[in-house]
Symmetry: C2
């Protein structure tokens, strides 16, 4: 049961100091979701040996170039590699036309564009493992983040109890669904003795690009990992406000107030060669903070 994040690009606006543009891969039980797709994303996936054709769905936060300019090339490459299965792309309105023009309307396999509502939280997709929601962000253009929530698992059956009470195979599903067990001698074994409560479902929230936006706090409450953009240090707050980005301190403030487990900073301005000061600034507010490192896979 995997729930793993790989950052492919961590820079804002333009590449610098070996850092690339926004893109992440979330692996949920071997389904790959691509989150944003800046220029060069396909090359980063090759660098990190990610099997591109396993990408089922793409989630695009907004239509600024540094989040979308890798998408046409990726679709071309998937087609040239022989993909036939469909690709589903979720984004604010307008992306289909941008991709259409670049590819001159030539798609080698079905590509479905699904328009998100950037004004309120909404369920975009679910399968047996996960639900994906859009969450509103506050940026210069319509923009949403994404919340990935593992589905609640059934309790696990204790194998030792199967042996101890000689539980027949056909009873296991009802016990996993909450039933007690009646032995042949008429003894009632309570469900709580027979099962183990599984780990709570994991949650990952992606918030980029956005100004400081306290309305998201209840939506990302308690998530296991919060990715929040931290384009600037707080001494450039004026610039952050003007461009509708966040500072490292503001990202940490959201993490602290939302009581998340862990904060991952990213979307760094090309002006910063050394990122340690951004990390230090955030840690003063929220200790369990990491910097995005491209190619590193985090188990959430």
């Amino acid at each position: 049961m995997s729930f793993e994040l790989t950052v492919l690009g961590s820079n804002a606006a333009l590449p610098s100091f070996g850092r690339h543009l926004s893109a992440q891969i979330l692996n949920v039980d071997s389904s790959l979701f691509l989150i944003d797709c800046g220029e060069g994303t396909q090359i980063r996936m090759m660098d990190f040996k990610i099997k591109m054709n396993k990408i089922e769905r793409v989630f695009i936060s907004h239509l600024h170039g540094d989040h979308i300019l890798g998408l046409a090339g990726l679709i071309m490459t998937l087609g040239l590699q022989g993909r036939s299965k469909p690709l589903y792309i979720y984004s604010p309105s307008g992306l289909e036309r941008i991709i259409d023009v670049q590819l001159d309307g030539n798609y080698a396999f079905p590509v479905h564009f699904i328009v998100t509502d950037t004004r309120k939280k909404g369920l975009l997709f679910e399968n047996k493992s996960v639900e994906v929601f859009s969450i509103p962000l506050l940026h210069r253009v319509p923009c949403n983040g994404f919340l990935f929530v593992q589905k609640t698992k059934s309790p696990n059956m204790r194998k030792d109890k199967i042996t101890e009470y000689k539980i027949p195979y056909n009873k296991i599903i009802e016990i996993k669904n909450g039933a007690d067990f009646l032995t042949q001698k008429g003894q009632v074994i309570p469900n709580s003795e027979l099962t183990v409560i599984p780990a709570p479902p994991l949650k990952y929230a992606y918030c980029s690009d956005t100004a400081y936006f306290k309305e998201i706090i209840p939506m990302v409450k308690g998530v296991d990992l919060l990715y929040h953009e931290a384009t600037f240090m707080h001494d450039l707050l004026d610039k952050a406000v003007k461009t509708m980005h966040s500072t490292a301190r503001q990202a940490a403030e959201i993490a602290r107030r939302a009581e998340v487990k862990k904060l991952l900073l990213g979307h760094f301005s090309a002006r910063y060669k050394n990122l340690s000061p951004l990390l230090d600034e955030a840690k003063l507010v929220f200790e369990n903070t990491l910097l995005s490192v491209e190619g590193l896979t985090l188990s959430i």
Copy 2:
């Protein structure tokens, strides 16, 4: 007086084996010309420490994605870096709309799109150092190559003769333009004794993408360096014909018949990990052949 080529990307269609998509920088007396601009070109320029803002003009061969998908990102980055001087982009018809849609019409500095005629050779641009011509190629969509021709230099003045005949400074320009010199004693010194003929002007031809197309032979006759696409080995001639690409042997055949000085192969299919067989195949027909190596600068 520089006339140097740096290959930024050498692969066809999609990146593979660490090779990137079509893009080259030609440095002519410190003016930088970008030839084609596949996805990731700006990142390759950063990798190779090329000063992007020095690019004056961009020459695009055709509108397939692997030759143009880096352009919108490059324009964005130049704008973010504060560029104010104009950029001139030469390409077959249709590029302006593709870039416009990606940038939502927002240009931070003047970008001029100039449409080429892909059916016949034509002068696109000249300055004091160079003339640039489009040359027709044969591909699935309108496509042209480019021919860069250094301008003929004036003869160089021999410094030893200035001393020997006490030639005044104000006579030098007319001698460089062909005049003889009359000494104070009335002796006529012929121009041929006073000047050295400069090296012949250098020529670089870029031919990608194209099927084998013998009509280009007179246009690239005797060039110092011919870049010719070699997407396939000759055993895949059928595939080359069908997709309107060339084989390594065909590229060498063009080089041999055009009596060029040197051939540079590129635009390699993603199927080839090892490129030596392509080089060997071409060398059987034309010995002075090189493979494109990304990041390597060739003095033409």
